[in-house]
Each structure stands twice: as C-alpha cells, then as structure tokens.
C-alpha cells in the first residue's frame, strides 16, 4: 500500500505532493509542484488570481486529477495504487477522502439538511459511526464555531459567515487528518470575514493540520507556519511568514505583495490598530 520509501522510524508528512503537473487543454495550470506538510502545520498558499492555487488544492483530494506527479496522505498514495499505474476505485478513493476535510469558497452546504444534519451527514453515512457519538461531536463542534443555537435551521437562513462556520464544523466532524480551505473568506462580505478568520486562527492554535488557499494576508502572516507563493502554476517561493512578508526572496513575490498592499491601502488606513508588515 505504501508507495513512499520513507525511513521506517520517521513519521511520514501528513501531506506530500511530488512533482504535480496539470493542464487544461493546452493551458498548463500546475507545473512540477512539490510540497510537504508536517503534522500540526498551517500552510497558506497565496498568489495572484488564476495562478492555480485552487486547482492545486483540488488535486490533493483528487477532485481534480493531476496529469503527473503523486499525492501522499500520511504516506499513503492518493488516487492511484499498484505503484501509480492503476487508478483507485471510487470506493477506495472515498475511503481516503473521508480523512480529509474540505471547506469551500461558496460554502457548498447541503441545502436540504439542517445545520446539525449537515455536520452529521458524512460521519453517519460515509464513516458509519454510531449516531449518539456523532451527534455529540457535531453539537460540540457547532458550539465551538458559535452556532449551537442555529442547529435546527436550514442553510438558506444563515448569513455567509455563519454558513462558512458550519462548513468548517462539517469538515471537522469527519475527524480529518488534514483540512483543506479553498478561499474560505473570498465570497464573504468584508464585515463577515472576521468571524471565520477567528475560527481558523483557533484551529491553527489547536494544532490542526491545514492547507489554506487565501487572500487574507493578515491571517497568513499571523497564523501560517509556512507560506507558499504560487504564480503561473509554479511554486515561486516558500518560507516562514516572517521571511515571506518582510523579506521576500524573489522579485515576483515582492511585486505581488506590493500590488496587494496598494490595493488594500485604503482598508489598512481604516484599521490603524492593526500592525503593518
């Protein structure tokens, strides 16, 4: 099962990407992406729009199939077996996917289920865990994201920020080894971003292993253990937030941060209490 030739003593990284490439037609969206994420890390993937960030995230749980390269979850190959020559069956793939929680840009809650049912759905019907235990976990998670009083409500009656917090509770409910966030605050009104960021900061502090595609540079700076800068489908720069934000090594990263700062100058002026990079 284990395709990785990792030394037996060391714990394999929770996530390892090896030379992932992906094209849509003639357009190469990802090129030779390699990345390791250790347990407890918060990795923020940043970069311009259309740089391939979301596609990369979707390759991790095989929602998008890379053209080449390999994905390993805790040392186990995702999507392929028998040394990478045979595609996994849908069932095998589902087994792996249920160990990865995912939070979507547009929430993607199931509209026909209440908040509580949304959180309980996968643990009950995919993982087949006992109802009482699942319910207890789900209620605790809704408490954690501050939505215990909304559990009998349908998603349509929630604000964007509340929907996304349900999305996070749903992703946590499967007790994942890894959480993926696909621009979790991009679809939110500015005043609702804070409540979602707050929950994510808490998860980072709790040592949840997370890979986050985001445009929230403030969050990346404070909460990330590793910042990955992607441009035109390639990893241009990887580093700690301190390195990346105060002394970016590449010209492209410098330009990106500069453009970002200019675009947000107005917002930042309005928030004098917030520390500048």
């Amino acid at each position: 099962m284990n395709d990785a030739a990792a030394p037996p003593s060391a714990e394999p990284p929770v996530l390892e990407l090896r030379a992932i490439s992906k094209s849509f037609g003639t357009l190469e969206v990802l090129s030779d992406i390699s990345l390791k994420v250790a347990r407890g890390e918060t990795v923020c993937i940043v970069g311009p729009s259309g740089s391939g960030k979301s596609t990369l995230l979707r390759c991790i749980n095989w929602l998008e199939k890379p053209d080449s390269g390999a994905v390993f979850l805790s040392g186990r190959r995702v999507g392929m077996r028998s040394g990478g020559h045979v595609a996994m069956s849908d069932k095998e793939l589902a087994q792996i996917r249920t160990r990865i929680g995912m939070v979507f840009q547009h929430f993607a809650l199931w509209p026909h289920l209440t908040v509580l049912q949304n959180v309980m759905e996968a643990p009950l019907h995919v993982q087949k865990r006992p109802h009482a235990e699942v319910r207890e976990t789900a209620e605790a998670l809704l408490q954690k994201v501050g939505l215990a009083d909304k559990r009998e409500v349908f998603p349509a009656q929630l604000s964007g920020g509340q929907k996304q917090r349900v999305g996070i509770a749903r992703a946590l409910a499967v007790q994942p080894d890894l959480l993926l966030f696909d621009e979790p605050t991009s679809a939110l009104d500015p005043e609702l971003v804070g409540e979602v960021i707050l929950v994510m900061r808490e998860l980072a502090r709790d040592g949840m292993t997370m890979v986050i595609v985001t445009h929230e540079m403030g969050f990346a700076r404070d909460a990330a253990t590793q910042v990955v800068f992607i441009d035109r489908g390639q990893i241009v720069e990887t580093g700690t937030p301190v390195q990346f934000f105060s002394a970016p090594a590449t010209e492209r990263a410098r330009q990106f941060l500069q453009r970002y700062a200019t675009a947000n100058a107005a917002t930042i002026e309005l928030q004098p209490a917030r520390a500048m990079p």
Binding site: D90, L93, F107, A108
Partner: protein, 218 residues
Amino acid sequence: MIRDFGITWAHRDQIVHGLVNTVWLSLSAAALAFVLGCLLAIVLMARTRPLAIAGRYFVDTMRCVPFLLFAYLVYYGLPSFGIRFTNYSAGLVALTLYNTAYMAELLRAAWAGLPREMIEAGHAFGFVGLSLFRRIVLPPVIFAAIPMIGNQLIQIIKDSAFLTIIAVPELTHEASSIQATYFVPFAAFVTAVLLYWLLCMVVEVAVAGVGRMAQARR
C-alpha cells in the same frame, strides 16, 4: 338540462368508479414514472457516453409520439409480439412509460441546474454511487423540481382521459358511457370536466404546500 344532470347524478356510482380509477391510474403512473424517471435521469447524466445517448433517444422518441398513438401501440401493437395486457394494465404501462421520459427530462434539468460545488462537497466527503445520489443529489433535485413535477402530475391526470380509447374504465370512459346510453352529452361531460378540474386543484394546492416547505431547503 336539469333532468340531464339528474340522470348523471342517478349514475353517480359509475362516475365515482371512473373517478377512483382515474385517481389510481394517475397516482400509480406518476409514482412509477417518478422512480423510473430518477433512474433514467441518472442514465442521462452518466459519464458513459453510449448509455447517456441511448437514454436521450428514449426520451426524445417518447416526447415526439402522440400519447394516443402510444396507447394504441401498447394495447393493440404489443400483442403481435406476444405481450398481452388487460385494458387497465395496458393503460398503466402506457401512461407510466410515456411520462417516465418527461419526468427524467425535468429531473435532469433540475440536476444540471444544481450548484456544482454542492455535489462536489459530496465527493469530497466520500459519498459515492447510490448513496451520493440518494443523500446529496436527489433531495435538492426534487425540491427544485417540485413545480415541474406538479405540472407533470396534472398532465398525467389529463392524459389518462385518452385511455378511454382502449376501454380503460376511467372517468372519461364512464362519462362517455352514461352519455351514450341516455344521450346527455353536456351534463355527463361537464360533470367529468368539473371533476378533472377538482383533481387538478387538489394537486395545485398540494404542490403549493410542499413548495413552501421546499423553499426553506433550497
């Protein structure tokens, strides 16, 4: 005229018998067409091209055949191939198969209109195959399609009147037989029309009720 309605009223047991048959036929055909329509919608949405194309041919064929002719074919045509039905079951089969195509098409349209991310979330959380369809896809599809399903149910009720030509003892057939015996065409047919109208009203009220419930879940 009052006398004509008097005659019709005197044969109310026959009218009620026809009405009950119409209701039964329509409801069973609608239920069967819905279940078969779900399966056919899966076929239409299948990634296996030949399968989807075969389903598409069935739907297009059904939609282009007049129901009257189709009912004739099932009742008079199929016995040539050794398939024999009673009048009632021939009517049920014709009504079901014909509307399966329509159900499948309206469910497919509702399915195609669902936000992609929602189904993707199903995949991402490990739902596959039938459980993905039943738990994640089908409920929102049904909620979105309720007005169209209601329309189709009304269509089925009205189409069932055609089955009089293969002597299915439904409402139109009974009204027709009363008028043929006593020559009270206006009274007998107006009575039938009013009863069809009443049935359709019941369907509309029910659909509105279910629609309100669905609104919160969309």
